[in-house]
């Protein structure tokens, strides 16, 4: 029996374990795609183009993009996992097994969020390991790296729960990921520095993109430099993650997307 199973409430532990087993047993659908995608990213953007770009923020381009790719993989997977699991359960109605159980609404939400965040972190670690094959990766600020990874994966798992409750069709899930999440990440300073933006307008607009703060926070953890104050970012993102989780619990309690 694991330590977690002894420390956590049985119901919560069971649901979280069920969610984790679901993706661990299907690596072809969950871990292999980001592995291949990131090998391609590092090869093309890091090695082929990176040698031409040179250095950004005082580090080689391949190292500069690594934190952004970690964030991209981590939040995409945290979001996708929660949204897919909730929506698929609604679609096939097996989420009723959970809803008709004596788990509290908070336990249900946190089990989905925690398992999805763990998947996001696992993918983040996987991308870091792939990056380490291509370049030398250090962790300058381990506390910030861990804290930012925890907060952003929890935040996006929480948003994934919202997406899973809101979606009416599988197309809605695809739309959220492709048309909202991905553009925000790509314009969130993954592949470029804010200082490289020539326009004051673009710079100001970028500051409204929450991804900027996530990417910068994780970058601060890896390479020790940031374009935005990491402490302020961490506080804002933590508050945001808590607010989204609270909203998830409220929606579960109300039965939004789940009942009737």
């Amino acid at each position: 029996m694991s330590v977690a199973s002894k420390l956590l409430p049985v119901g919560f532990y069971t649901l979280a374990k069920r969610e984790i087993l679901r993706y661990v047993r299907r690596p072809k659908n969950t871990f292999v795609p980001p592995l291949i995608t990131n090998v391609l990213y590092f090869s093309v953007f890091g090695v082929v183009l990176g040698t031409r770009v040179g250095e950004i923020a005082g580090v080689p381009y391949i190292l500069f993009i690594l934190p952004g790719l970690v964030v991209l993989g981590a939040i995409s997977n945290a979001f996708e996992n929660a949204s897919f699991s909730i929506f698929h359960g609604r679609w096939n109605e097996y989420i009723h097994e959970t809803l008709t159980s004596p788990l509290s609404y908070a336990q249900m939400v946190w089990a989905y969020v925690a398992s999805s965040a763990i998947r996001g972190i696992a993918v983040g670690v996987l991308i870091s390991v792939i990056g380490a094959i291509f370049t030398t990766v250090g962790v300058e600020r381990p506390f910030y790296l861990v804290a930012f990874m925890l907060v952003i994966t929890v935040l996006f798992a929480g948003l994934g729960v919202l997406g899973g409750l809101w979606a009416e069709d599988f197309d809605d899930l695809t739309m959220m990921n492709q048309f909202i999440l991905r553009p925000l990440v790509f314009f969130g300073g993954v592949f470029y520095s804010l200082d490289d933006l020539n326009s004051e307008l673009f710079y100001t607009v970028s500051l409204f993109n929450p991804m900027i703060y996530m990417v910068n926070g994780v970058r601060y953890g890896f390479i020790g430099t940031a374009e935005v104050d990491p402490n302020a970012s961490l506080v804002v993102l933590t508050v945001l993650a808590a607010a989204v989780a609270a909203l998830d619990v409220a929606l579960f309690r109300r039965g939004y997307g789940l009942t009737e």
């Binding site: 029996m1 199973s5 409430p9 049985v10 119901g11 532990y13 069971t14 649901l15 374990k17 069920r18 087993l21 679901r22 047993r25 359960g89 096939n92 109605e93 097996y94 009723h96 097994e97 959970t98 809803l99 008709t100 159980s101 004596p102 788990l103 509290s104 109300r254 039965g255 789940l258 009942t259 009737e260």
Partner: protein, 328 residues
């Protein structure tokens, strides 16, 4: 003793449809309670409110004294539900699905594994424990639904059309199983389209129609409320309808067709001897007498008849598994 279910003025409205319109009923602990009604009567809405899949619009619903919304964890912990629809987790083999369900109810993993084995054996699909739900046959799926409801050892077992679409043998097996459970103390709430199933199994039935409880009574009481037909074949055709001196209101109608006298009466079995005596005294020779008792199905159709005279929805025909004695 706390009632298994205490329902007061329960209401549910979906947009412009009043699914439940002030349902009140009490299900005693340990009873076998049937919920009958045509399609759209509100049976599934009623059940879904109890288990948290539908939010009530008004009224009160308590499971063993626990409010289904304020004390939802306690209420749900006491319920095992076998819904009509197959809403099963397709990602895992069925034994693991059972273990998960047990875990959600706070049953530790070791015990959950033992219980999963036990209930799979109980419903007769233990050999299929490592199979996913989609690969089970229709009958096995129905058995599994019952196993999932039983894995948490519920105090209240809710069975929504548990024998819908299953063959005669399986239906008998499932009946035997749920009878045993009820005799061991589990309260059963059964919804069914098979009137005979309710007649055979239930202590008490509520007939639900258009979101209202039309009546709550034992199957025997309901049958007694219906009119029986006594058909008397007389030796000679009388000149007119014989004057039968019944002073109570048991006899609803007397019709004469040649030498065939048809008496419609409640509790026909009690009326028949008086009828024979009266005909004998009046000098009518009797060749044959036949009493046809009303069936629960006829009572059901009568109670759920709409104002224009048509029954809302016909119940399923009597089961093929006839020929066995009643349950009690």
């Amino acid at each position: 003793m706390t009632a298994a279910l205490e329902i007061r003025d329960l209401r549910k409205r979906y947009a412009d449809v009043q699914a439940l319109d002030g349902v009140s009923l009490t299900v005693p602990e340990g009873s076998f309670f049937g919920l009958l009604g045509p399609n759209g009567a509100g049976k599934t809405t009623f059940i879904n409110i109890l288990v948290g899949l539908v939010r009530k619009s008004g009224g009160e619903a308590r499971v063993f004294g626990y409010d289904v919304e304020d004390d939802y964890q306690e209420a749900r912990d006491r319920i095992g539900l076998a819904p009509q629809e197959f809403n099963v987790d397709r990602f895992f083999p069925i034994k693991e699905v059972l273990e998960h369900k047990a875990g959600y109810h706070g049953i530790p993993a070791d015990e959950a594994r033992e219980r999963a084995d036990e209930v799979l054996k109980q419903v007769g699909i233990y050999d299929k424990r490592d199979t996913r739900f989609d690969w089970l046959s229709g009958g096995m799926k129905r058995r599994f639904m019952l196993a999932r409801a039983l894995i948490t050892d519920p105090d209240l077992l809710i069975l929504d059309e548990p024998t819908a679409g299953v063959d005669v043998q399986l239906r008998r097996d499932l009946w035997d199983l749920i009878i045993d459970l009820n005799e061991a103390g589990t309260t059963i709430l059964l919804t069914t389209h098979y009137i005979e199933e309710a007649e055979r199994l239930c202590d008490e039935v509520a007939i639900l129609d258009s979101g209202n409880v039309v009546t709550v009574a034992s199957p025997e009481e309901l049958i007694d409320r219906g009119a029986d037909r006594i058909v008397v074949q007389l030796q000679d055709a009388p000149a007119g309808t014989p004057d039968l001196p019944f002073e109570d209101d048991r006899v609803d109608a007397v019709e004469l067709d040649g030498n065939r006298l048809v008496v419609t009466a409640r509790r026909g079995g009690l009326v028949a001897p008086d009828l024979v005596r009266a005909l004998d005294r009046a000098g009518h020779g009797i060749v044959d007498l036949e009493i046809s008792r009303t069936s629960l199905e006829e009572v059901f159709v009568e109670l759920t008849r709409t104002e224009d005279g048509a029954a809302v929805d016909e119940p399923a025909p009597a089961l093929a598994a006839n020929g066995e004695g009643g349950r009690r």
